[in-house]
Amino acid sequence: MKTSVFLGTLTAAAALAGSVSAATLDEVKARGELNCGVNTGLVGFAAPDANGNWSGFDVAICKAVAAAVLGDPSKVKYVPTTGQTRFTALASGEIDLLARNTTWTFSRDTDLKFTFVGVNYYDGQGFMVRKDLGVSSAKELDGATVCIQTGTTTELNLADYFKSNNLSYTPVAIETNAEGEQQYLAGACDAYTTDASGLAATRAAFADPENHIILPEIISKEPLGPLVRHGDDQWADITRWVLNALVAAEEYGVTSANIEELAKGTQNPEINRLLGTEGDLGAFIGLDKDWAKRAIIGAGGNYGEIFAATIGESTPIGLARGLNAQWTQGGLLYAPPFR
């Protein structure tokens, strides 16, 4: 009896102490900072420089959301997450948004209770081998030793692929991309498998990229995208449409160079709605009129500009647009209309 009374007091105190879970948007605004989960270090996608300034393709999403919501792309607290801690960090509310090349899968969406707000990079799992191995197809990898990062979907894909092709292999589990590279270069594994973009980035940084080939087989679909918790649709909408705004901006030809010009009003009502000169789309998601404009400027440009600056062909990573081109260019990027 006495215990239960005591317990009641305690829980009451606890409820007071812990902030009642508010809408994420209000929380972020009150905090004045966006907590964004990123990779602990993956060249091109998210890596800190010597001064701790983060940059990369995934980081741009964080910046865009921060710019849209808080008006300042630098108001982001980057939380480095490992493959293991990322989902818990999001579920527990430690981060508001996870932009860490995470594959959109059924079970992550439903069982783990997350909302993937879109796809910012269409990827697929591939293999890289040394040229002198004389292998031209993944089907010839019977009996090979394969390096693989643990805690990712690639592990399961690999097992499925070898099983369905009746091949045997020895997995070498590694924890980070840097270790995988080292193992692969030393010949401790015959093949290195991860997302094709990661393979390209890794290969680009080798001293002798011409001696390594990426096998033609892409064994899985890896739609990578930012994700938020279930249960806060407003916040999911904001992140989803920030991403769409970046994609749409490229489609409509809005770049960081001409955005100020276009924001004064254009003949194209679609651009006008996007940049807030016509209508007030921002009000529907709890933001002001200029949200998309800020997001594009904050992220460093539209989707194409971000891509080119972080992982594109002019960077050491040198990824081609491929599937990630606009739908008008034969790619899969297709932003829903801003209307």
Binding site: T11, A14, A15, A17, G18, S19, V20, S21, T40, G41, L42, V43, A47, P48, D49, A50, N51, G52, K77, Y78, V79, P80, T81, T82, Q84, T85, T88, A89, S92, G93, E94, T176, N177, A178, E181, Q182, L185, A205, A207, P316
Partner: protein
């Protein structure tokens, strides 16, 4: 005894001057014979030892001799090495340390605030000195008492009043204790705890706000995610070990208690914590702690790690202090009882001062172990100096593939620090031993 001397032709009356020892028994040769080649086994050992040393030197020396300190990337390093020492030469590329050492030491702590972090470190030693060296004036202990607030303020910045008012809670508790201690410990203790809780939950907030308005004393704030490298390791290690001391003392006393329930609970806690790897506790900090706390509460990952590491250290400290308590002669307890001291008086005045003093070497070695274990925080995504920062450095294009140099650098710092601590602990052990004889 018959007198036979007379029959002898010659009897020595004075000693001969000593002859010089044979060459095999003097100087370096004797030393060699005695210390290195005194028998077949020893000779074999010597030869093995020499060849092992020679092997290591032969293999490491060229690499170390071909060191490059000035380069902007690993490939540039390799070019310089090949240009200077020939095509096949391998060499160390210390340029990465030269360029990135601030990150190994400070993580991403803002570079214009390094002075503050260093000041915190210097003050830490000043605060530790009176605890570690008995010869210093006792008044310096006030600095030790004030250090947690000061250190926190210097490292994280922000308003000075926030940590100060947090610490003031202890002062409030002490005041309540002093006011009520005449009525017995059992009244005073709950009152002191209650007073501190009241202060923290209801009074500290308004008072801090008031002081902030009246006398703003704030410096630039640094966020936790900027912490990394050795500053992170030292922060976690020192915070955990100092926070775990009171907890460890309570657990040790609980384990020695006559009360069955208290003893059983203490034993269970200590054995549970000591029975699981630290890494699982770190996972609890990063993955589970949010489940155990009220919904919606959420705080800094460094703080969560410090909490779990504190709990971990407390169990080990408790065992160290239990050893100290056990080393006290029974007479000390009996003397305290016969003076009519209550339990807490006896502990405070007689038992703990002696037991803690004997325990200091053990506490220092626990700290060394803990300091080494702070490298495990990399598995929960913090940037520890060994793997976290090294991986971050290797994630840049310039330093991709660099491997040995960062490890050797970090290992050397760990070694210097821990070796110094263990020497101190040995010095202390010798000194304490002499005290008892």
């Amino acid at each position: 005894m018959t007198d036979t001397t007379a029959a002898r032709a010659f009897v020595r009356r004075e000693m001969l001057p000593p002859q010089a020892p044979p060459p095999s028994q003097t100087g370096a040769i004797r030393w060699l014979r005695e210390n290195l080649f005194s028998g077949p086994l020893n000779t074999v050992l010597t030869i093995l030892g020499l060849s092992a040393t020679a092997w290591i030197v032969i293999h490491l020396y060229p690499w170390l001799a071909h060191s490059v300190w000035n380069a902007n990337s690993l490939s540039e390093c390799r070019q310089i090495i090949q240009a200077t020492w020939g095509e096949d030469a391998t060499g160390a590329c210390w340029a990465v340390i030269r360029e990135r050492w601030p990150q190994f030491l400070f993580g991403f702590y803002p570079s214009h605030l390094y002075g503050r972090a260093l000041l915190a470190l210097v003050l830490l030693f000043a605060a530790l000195a009176p605890v570690l060296f008995a010869g210093l004036p006792r008044r310096m202990l006030w600095l030790s008492a004030a250090y947690p607030a000061l250190g926190y303020w210097l490292l994280w910045g922000g308003s000075f009043w926030y940590p100060a008012m947090l610490m003031a809670g202890f002062a409030v508790a002490a005041l309540a204790w002093r006011a009520l201690s005449a009525r017995g410990a059992l009244v005073a203790m709950p009152a002191a705890v209650a007073a501190a809780l009241v202060w923290w939950f209801w009074l500290a907030g308004p008072v801090t706000a008031g002081l902030d308005a009246a006398l703003p004393l704030a410096i630039e704030a640094v966020r936790s995610d900027k912490f990394g490298g050795f500053i992170l390791a030292v922060t976690i290690g020192v915070a955990a070990i100092s926070l775990s001391l009171p907890l460890g003392i309570m657990l040790a006393l609980g384990r020695k208690s006559d009360m069955f329930l208290v003893k059983a609970l203490s034993v269970c806690f200590i054995e549970f914590i000591r029975g699981v790897p630290l890494i699982t506790l770190l996972f609890v900090a990063s993955l589970l702690l949010n489940y155990f706390l009220p919904p919606g509460s959420n705080f800094d990952i460094i703080l969560r790690v410090v909490i779990m590491v504190t709990i971990f250290a407390a169990a080990y400290i408790a065992e160290v202090i239990r050893g100290g308590l056990a080393a006290l002669p029974r007479g000390q307890y009996e003397a305290a009882d016969s003076l009519g001291l209550t339990y807490w008086q006896a502990q405070q005045l007689i038992i703990l001062p002696q037991a803690l003093k004997i325990s200091i070497p053990g506490i220092v070695s626990t700290f060394i172990g803990l300091f080494k274990d702070t490298t495990l925080v990399v598995f929960v995504g913090l940037l520890d100096p060994l793997k976290g920062i090294t991986d971050a450095v290797r994630a840049t294009i310039e330093w991709k593939g660099i491997y040995w140099e960062p490890y050797i650098f970090v290992g050397a710092i760990f070694f210097a620090f821990n070796f110094g601590m263990s020497r101190y602990s040995m010095y202390l052990e010798r000194k304490l031993k002499r005290d008892h004889r």
